[in-house]
Symmetry: C2
Subunit: 335 residues, 2 copies
Amino acid sequence: MIIDCHGHYTTAPQAHTDWRRDQLTALLSGAGTPEYPSISDDEIRESIETQQLRMLRERGSDMTIFSPRASAMGHHEGDLEANRAWSRVSNDLVARVVDLFPSAFIGVCQLPQSPGAPLDAAISELRRCVDMGFVGLNLNPDPSGGHWTSPPLTDPYWFPLYEVMVELDVPAMVHVSASSNPAFHATGAHYMNADTTAFMQLLAGDLFGTFPELRLVIPHGGGAVPYHWGRYRGLADMLGQPPLDTHVMRNVFFDTCVYHQAGIDLLVEVIDTDNILFGSEMVGAVRGIDPTTGHYFDDTRRYVEAADLSGAQREQIYAGNALRVYPRLAAQLGR
Amino acid sequence: MIIDCHGHYTTAPQAHTDWRRDQLTALLSGAGTPEYPSISDDEIRESIETQQLRMLRERGSDMTIFSPRASAMGHHEGDLEANRAWSRVSNDLVARVVDLFPSAFIGVCQLPQSPGAPLDAAISELRRCVDMGFVGLNLNPDPSGGHWTSPPLTDPYWFPLYEVMVELDVPAMVHVSASSNPAFHATGAHYMNADTTAFMQLLAGDLFGTFPELRLVIPHGGGAVPYHWGRYRGLADMLGQPPLDTHVMRNVFFDTCVYHQAGIDLLVEVIDTDNILFGSEMVGAVRGIDPTTGHYFDDTRRYVEAADLSGAQREQIYAGNALRVYPRLAAQLGR
């Protein structure tokens, strides 16, 4: 079985995306919130069958842990109330995808975050989504959209959310949204930087001393971290922190969203197999075909197949680790 | 010959560092700027002979392209005038190191940048330092210290500096200073993020169409970039930009400040040898010994020696590329 831990509904019907635009326009002008459009099951089916589901089958994967489009979360754009409504309709749309294709998709929710706002709305939405069968959440460490005004992930600001994550036994993928800072290209800089930044916050803190059961997935192969694994091992030592394998890596996992063979080879060489979850972020940031291979850049299964791994290790990366990190998925598959 | 392209005077005499602290205190209180202390040649000799020079010899390198301590540039701390004075004394101190050890060190300057300020002071200081024999500069793409308030490196804001760099035929290392943003650990997140961010700015723009002779060194092995080389090749394609090897990589170089074997192996596998400059950032961010090897994390020569490279390629990385990227160094060595 092959579970892709990292897919977003990047192909959501246009009416859904347009509603967010209209909602934000109305917010700025003081007009009332527009009514959310009616979207048919057929529209949803088509948006999925022609894209994610087709590619899932072509690439030989079985299912995707699926969440609303990350770049559209836009926590920096609306206020808390607007983002609450946007999260709700976005998560409901993912729930409909899961209902239509229950063997191929399982839900992970977007949270109604807003810079500086308390996390009560996020916690309520997380509970609502878990009640609908969702198995995890996307946590934005920088709801300001590239201005990094929130405290580090190790700060007590985030603890109320972590308490509920532990109670519900759901992991978070640490995933930023779009960038409103001209310095940062979203998928080329902000995403990578957020992954690296989050890891370093966790390395320098003791979050997992407080929350030993908390699990965080750092996407995009861990940003810069595996490539600089010696630097991070050395920094842990310099800062008087425990070695990474007995500290951060008990609770942190990287996906395989690294779009060339040499990158995946490095990932599986330096990171323990237990800490790697198969992911592709398909259909996502990079949609073209690599002229050097003739295959899609984000067809990450090919790289994992070609990597120096035993069959048992590959099985862990493809499914075993995901079932451990997302126990609610394991429970649903067991039924 | 082995040239380390990335060394900072991290062991500068305490009186120098204390003066900056006192200068900033005086600036805040409105007091007059304190007098810069007298620092003897013996103090400088000792700070170098017991540290950088000893390690340079122990590790079998010949010389270091040497600049003021990056984390102490602190462009976000003083105003432009204070930073002008601080750059001047910091560069003068590097010039004294070069005078005392002319076969082992060559100077690269810190610039008096300040968030939002024009670049005239930086240009004047660059000219002054090149007149003293310096061969390059460190350019901070984020003088705000982790708030990223400056325009991208492709913006005309930076062009007056680039014009003078081309005129003087000196390259810049793109290097941030300390972080004043609690989200970013300096050497574990801000440095890596800046490298990644700068590369993506260059990928998305056409700076080298305007300045075909401009040369930029992105340190720390290029941040996250080589590990995600497929992503960047794919993003260039998605953005309708030329392939990396015929665009950004004609003018951009990565150093070897990657502190483990697997990272260096990936770097030399995916990045053309022409674009790699030997560097260690010694004595720098990571000073300990790797328990898995028994050697210093930042003894990057060991990794380059063990990498899959021909003798000619290794020679390029060790010296040939540096002499090409820093022609003023080549000219001085030729004399």
